[in-house]
């Protein structure tokens, strides 16, 4: 991870012990007469070029400092100490980084202490002027270090300001929090995205802002993060609670910043992806609708190809016969067949028409219906058939359950389901029909479980709800009931599923949209 803190630390320059500046400008606060002596003393500092300039006048001293920016000031201290003190004060205030060395004509430890207290770099007696080079060297080095530290501090402050600005003005929120989830920092963008003021947000717990269903995603992300080589982990989408109570979709990047000074916790930046997410949802819904429509169209073309054409090919055959036969008996027979085909064709057309009308049925009346009431009525109409096979019904539908559905569709679907259970009951055992309701998210699910002949569901799954598909040698089966039911259920935004196996009965699940 990019680490702004360590960047700042690294920018602190390494301090060198050799002076980089080879031209040393020295401003001497005294008359010129001392300069030759100073020059000869500093000769010992080989490799450096000393440039001396001197003044006796206070005003000129200030002017020269400004103009030549000396590396060093040497002040000759005479009996009158006041002058020197003034200049020292001035330099400490305005140019604290320039070393200020006092050269005194007389020994006075008390005044030496006074000057050092005032900020003089060092205090030398003229008798020990031979120590001057070392003192100068030390003073210049300290000065250099001071300047470097000052520059580094400046740099560091600017860097910190820059990184702070980067986060504060970022469009996407950044938050940091402790290991227990307590938020320690939030950037101002939090208000734009989640509606909270920074001071409201800090101190709350991250968990309170995440959709409960998405918490496992978070937990997994933390686990991955803590075990991973990388110190960040992306959560592609999760729901976050807005202050107003609604949820937004966000993409979050969680970073392990427990070892980062100044954070010492988890850092998360996230982006509001609600608009994109909603668009994707719309797109997926559209794709689903189109896929369904396309499947129905394919199914329909298949029906046309197989079922309508089977009748027309029979008609062609009959006409061929009529053309070649002179036998009145055979002609009569063919006419009879033609009538049969015509009726069958008509029935197929009627059925197809019904299918088409199911899906173009925007005008369908949808009512709030008692599922229990309609199921009971349906079972009542099948009572004689049930009694004939000694069937038993275990009925368990809440009388308060209402579903929004088309009445005639519901009647037809329930009749179909129950009638199928009777029709395909097992010849060797009593029919036990269990009817239950289960609540599943956006659906009320009607479960109709029988112990009949069953079916190889895996094998026939795709065909079971197709038109004119029959599976048992039952002469009454037309292969239409489940096809119609499925279409009616889907037209009401529901779905139908089936489970079961040969000899073990079938369980149909009808999903009624709440």
């Amino acid at each position: 991870m990019f680490n702004p803190q360590s960047q700042i630390e690294n920018s602190t320059c390494e301090i060198k012990y050799e002076l980089q500046e080879k031209n040393i400008k020295v401003l001497v606060l005294d008359d010129e007469s001392i300069i030759p002596e100073l020059k000869s003393v500093v000769q010992i500092l080989q490799g450096y070029n000393f440039i001396f300039q001197s003044t006796n006048c206070d005003n000129e001293f200030k002017k020269l400092i400004r103009e030549i920016k000396p590396n060093l000031i040497i002040s000759e201290l005479h009996i009158n100490e006041i002058e020197g003190k003034e200049q020292l004060n001035y330099c400490r205030m305005v140019y604290p980084e320039i070393p200020f060395i006092i050269l005194s004509a007389h020994t006075c430890n008390k005044s030496a202490l006074t000057f050092l207290e005032m900020g003089a770099t060092d205090f030398l007696n003229k008798d020990t002027i031979s120590a001057l080079p070392a003192t100068i060297y030390k003073a210049l080095r300290q000065s250099h270090e001071k300047i470097q530290i000052k520059e580094a501090r400046q740099q560091r402050w600017e860097d910190a300001q820059r990184f702070k600005g980067l986060i504060e003005y970022s469009h996407d929120p950044v938050i940091t929090y402790d290991y227990d989830g307590t938020i320690t920092y939030a950037s101002p963008a939090i208000e734009r995205v989640l509606g909270y003021k920074v001071e409201e947000f800090v101190g709350t717990n991250v968990i309170d802002h995440i959709h409960p269903e998405d918490l496992p995603i978070r937990e997994n992300a933390y686990k991955t993060l803590l075990n991973s080589e990388l110190n960040f982990e992306t959560i592609n989408e999760e729901r976050l609670l807005h202050k107003n109570g609604h949820f937004i979709w966000a993409k979050a990047i969680i970073s392990d910043a427990r070892l980062i000074p100044g954070i010492e916790g988890i850092m998360t930046n996230f982006r509001d992806i609600t608009i994109a997410k909603n668009k994707t949802c719309d797109l997926n819904n559209t794709i689903e609708i189109l896929t369904n429509q396309n499947n129905r169209l394919l199914n329909f073309s298949y029906i046309v190809s197989h079922n309508l054409r089977s009748h027309t090919s029979n008609i062609q055959s009959i006409i061929n016969f009529l053309e070649i036969t002179d036998d009145p008996g055979e002609q009569e027979e063919m006419i009879q067949h033609l009538k049969e085909v015509s009726e069958a064709l008509n029935e197929t057309m009627t059925n197809l028409n019904e299918v088409v009308s199911i899906h173009s049925g925007d005008h369908l009346k949808i009512e709030s219906l008692s599922l229990r009431k309609f199921a009971l009525i349906s079972l009542k109409t099948l009572k004689s058939k049930l009694n004939a096979i000694n069937g038993k019904v275990h009925f368990n539908i809440d009388k308060n359950l209402m579903i929004n559905f088309n009445k005639s569709y519901l009647e037809s679907i329930l009749h179909n389901l129950f009638y199928n259970a009777i029709k395909y009951s097992h010849p060797n055992r009593r029919l036990d029909l269990e009817i239950d309701i289960v609540n599943e998210d956006e659906f009320d699910v009607l479960i109709v479980k029988d112990n009949g002949m069953g079916l190889d569901i895996e094998k026939y799954k795709n065909k079971l709800f197709g038109m004119y598909n029959t599976f048992h040698n039952n002469k009454n089966a037309k292969g239409l009931g489940l096809f119609m039911s499925k279409n009616q259920i889907e037209a009401m935004k529901g779905k139908i599923e089936v489970e079961g196996s040969i000899n073990n009965g079938c369980t149909f699940k009808i999903y009624f949209k709440k």
Binding site: S301, Y302, S305, H306, N307, R309, S310, T312, S313, N314, Q316, S317, I318, N320, F321, H337, E340, V341, Y468, N469, T470, F471, H472, N473, A477, G479
Partner: protein, 133 residues
């Protein structure tokens, strides 16, 4: 030598008309019919070593209850070595869907795809092995 045509189809009228068409040829051709793929598999396996009674040609419908044409083919491919006679299988369907025609080509055991109605001349050509994919 008497030849036999086997019709596997659930449409009684089609079977009746096709039977009539074949009889009218007066070529001494026997006709056996089965309701669906399952009955055909059962019926044929009973005759598997009876070369004389096994059909020469099979006309197979696709859409049938219980076991459809494709399921019949899958079973037939498994069982074919048990039969003492090589039988020529044609799909005979009212479907003109490309999907069905393409699928029929995936079975090497299927010799051709016939679209109903099956007329006299088609039968004659079948008997002369003149129908190809």
């Amino acid at each position: 030598m008497k030849r036999t045509i086997c019709i596997i189809d659930d449409d009684p009228l089609y079977k009746l008309l096709l039977k009539k068409t074949i009889e009218r040829l007066n070529l001494n051709i026997g006709v056996v019919t089965y309701e669906d793929g399952k009955q055909a598999i059962e019926g044929l396996s009973k005759l598997k070593e009876n070369t004389a009674q096994l059909p020469d040609i099979i006309l197979l419908d696709i859409n049938m209850p219980v076991m459809d044409g494709w399921e019949f083919m899958d079973q037939f491919v498994e069982d074919k070595n048990q039969f003492s006679k090589a039988m020529t299988i044609y799909i005979a369907s009212s479907s003109i869907a490309t999907h069905d025609i393409e699928k029929s080509k995936t079975y090497t055991e299927i010799s051709g795809y016939l679209v109903k109605p099956i007329v006299k001349n088609t039968i004659l050509e079948l008997l002369q092995n003149k129908v190809f994919m």
